[in-house]
Symmetry: C2
Subunit: 341 residues, 2 copies
DNA sequence: TACGGTGCTGTAAAGATTTTCAGGAGGGTG
DNA sequence: CACCCTCCTGAAAATCTTTACAGCACCGTA
């Protein structure tokens, strides 16, 4: 049986209250006493039972992290950065991966984080009103990554601006027939990006005096295969585009694959720009819009921790910058990397 | 304040013991009574406080998952499948991402899972004796993915056999100068694969009567950039290889990049085979050795759960099959996908 | 000399469950 | 009719902390 606080108290010759205070570094303990307690705890290899502590204190030192997927680049990147912030703060990370719309429904009805976390961090989900309401019933600080909701902490990028910059890059290269490979705004697993990135795409075109053509806006489902199928449909259309903006790098990869399969060249026949600056984007020589993924997670996690440690403050909304990264998929030989040597 | 078990007991007109039994589905409760309790719980929107339950029962319904990284394909894939198994079983998943050797040391000295999980699942770490000893002090079921340790559950592939099959594929194509791009067996973050895959490589060569050339065995650090640098060194050598076996798909991507940069062709000038069947391997038309990643995680998690639910059984060691997937990076036009149409 | 602080320590309540044990009711059996 | 069992239920102990509160000793000051 592992040692309890009482064992430590006996060995150190003090009360359990003093042990508790000493170990947690609270004030009002004589230095000599504290040293004695620390020594006793060390000798017995004592660690406080988190469950007893949580029951008594009402705090769990645990953050719930909710994401639609855990094995996609964006999300695993966020998860890594959040975990790092939490473990530095001695917080536990309780992971919930929704997986599909069924899992999503189950999560929001059962709320399995109830009574076990101090705050919740939700990643890139376009929350329905019911879901927002469910989260509110938790009565905990909630952080959302990628969206903005009143009463919640949020960290995100400006998808409209970012998408606009991507399309403007294509326009600046002289392209007029620019297609969009996007996500499904009606997807039951609704992410946040599709809506705003599509808006940015259309705004940029209109800004250049081009009326967006519905035939050039197709669904890619945020996967390589989806992007490939979407590009194939575009190439099969009556007036194929000369450039494509894909809402994610993965869809862009699929698009490139489809283009090459037709014997066409990137960027000479069709220019392709992605979104994310995925880890392999440089390898694929893909022009893209970089977003600070890990940073969004880290900042949001830290904000939640701060709010828990009483650094009060109203829920804030932070918008981080994105950056256009020009490579060979839009401008031949553009990438430093792609150049010889 | 949220409802407590006492509130439910009052509303249902029974004792708290009966509420506890009813809600957990234990026997020895009259159906009518159980229904009344369930209704009361529903009305009060009651969920048991996990901390109180854990304190009283000594069980935590939580599995600790330890991985060196969380944002690399292999690990995020494992994490997803483990999470899925756990959430189906109503288990919590406590995530620990080691990150670097410092984080690794911190984990094994502090053992932050102490007193808070029922079992531990360790992914792809070549554990030192001290680390094994530390885990043993937890006195919990431990599962390891990718290695075998006495007294622990393990699920893995046979890296030697898998690597052998990769190299034999290259041999069968007529290659004699076959290089290895591997991981660092002395890396402080030591994974398990490098050692065994290197062994398989050498065994296959010797089996064909070829003495492995140390100059053809270089370090790629399991990253795209590392693979690229390694391949560059190989090409700069006095007798460049005609084929390369990379211990991961990512390193293979880097190798391909380096080869193409030199103006050489894959597979005509240098054939490349990877390992994993990464999600993008098909897109890259990369020949590789597929391993069942998600399955390894799911199986191991399930075994741990079974052992916790008393389905006793000695710690088992399960070896899953791998499969050679031939694509265009070793045989031109080999991939069904790469063919026109 | 008395009194108010300050610094430190201990007592005990509170937190919300699980689980052991005892016991009552009712039915069947010898 | 007595006894035993089974089925169900409740009382209370146990789990291990945190924290509010009380109290003691000692010092400085009025």
């Amino acid at each position: 049986m592992a040692a309890s606080i009482e064992d430590v108290a006996k060995l150190a010759g003090v009360s359990i209250a003093t042990v508790s205070r000493s170990l947690r570094g609270l004030p009002d303990v004589a230095t000599a006493t504290r040293d004695r307690v620390l020594a006793a705890a060390q000798e017995l290899d004592y660690v406080a039972s988190p469950f007893a502590a949580r029951l008594a204190s009402g705090r769990s030192s645990t953050l719930g992290v909710v994401m639609p997927f855990v094995n996609r680049w964006f999300f695993s990147e966020v998860l890594g950065s959040v975990e790092s912030v939490l473990s530095n703060a001695n917080y536990d990370l309780l992971l919930h991966n929704l997986g599909d719309s069924e899992g999503r429904a189950r999560f929001f009805t059962n709320l399995p984080v109830r009574k076990r976390v101090d705050a919740v961090l939700v990643v890139s989900l376009a929350l329905t009103e019911d879901e927002v309401a469910a989260l509110k019933t938790l009565d905990l600080p909630v952080g959302v990554l990628g969206v903005k909701h009143p009463g919640m902490f949020s960290v995100r990028i400006d998808d409209v601006v970012a998408a606009t910059s991507a399309v403007e890059h294509l326009l600046s290269l002289g392209h007029r027939r620019i297609a969009l490979i996007g996500g499904d705004t009606d997807d039951p697993m609704r992410f946040t990006p599709p809506h705003h990135r599509g808006t940015g795409y259309r705004e940029a075109l209109r800004g250049a005096g081009i009326e967006p053509d519905p035939a050039l806006q197709v669904l890619g489902y945020f996967t390589v295969a989806g992007g490939e199928a979407a590009m194939t449909r575009l190439l099969d259309g009556p007036q194929p585009p000369t450039a494509v903006f894909a809402e994610s790098d993965e869809m862009a990869y699929g698009a490139i694959k489809a283009i090459r399969r037709r014997g066409l060249r990137v960027p000479e026949d069709v220019a392709v720009i992605g979104f994310d600056d995925h880890a392999t984007a440089e390898l694929m020589d893909l022009t893209t819009v970089r977003q600070p993924v890990a940073e969004q997670g880290a900042v949001l996690a830290q904000e939640l921790l701060d709010s828990l440690s009483g650094a009060a403050g109203e829920p804030s909304d932070l918008v981080l910058d994105t950056e256009l990264v020009v490579r060979g998929s839009t401008v031949a030989g553009a990438s430093v990397y792609a150049q010889p040597g």
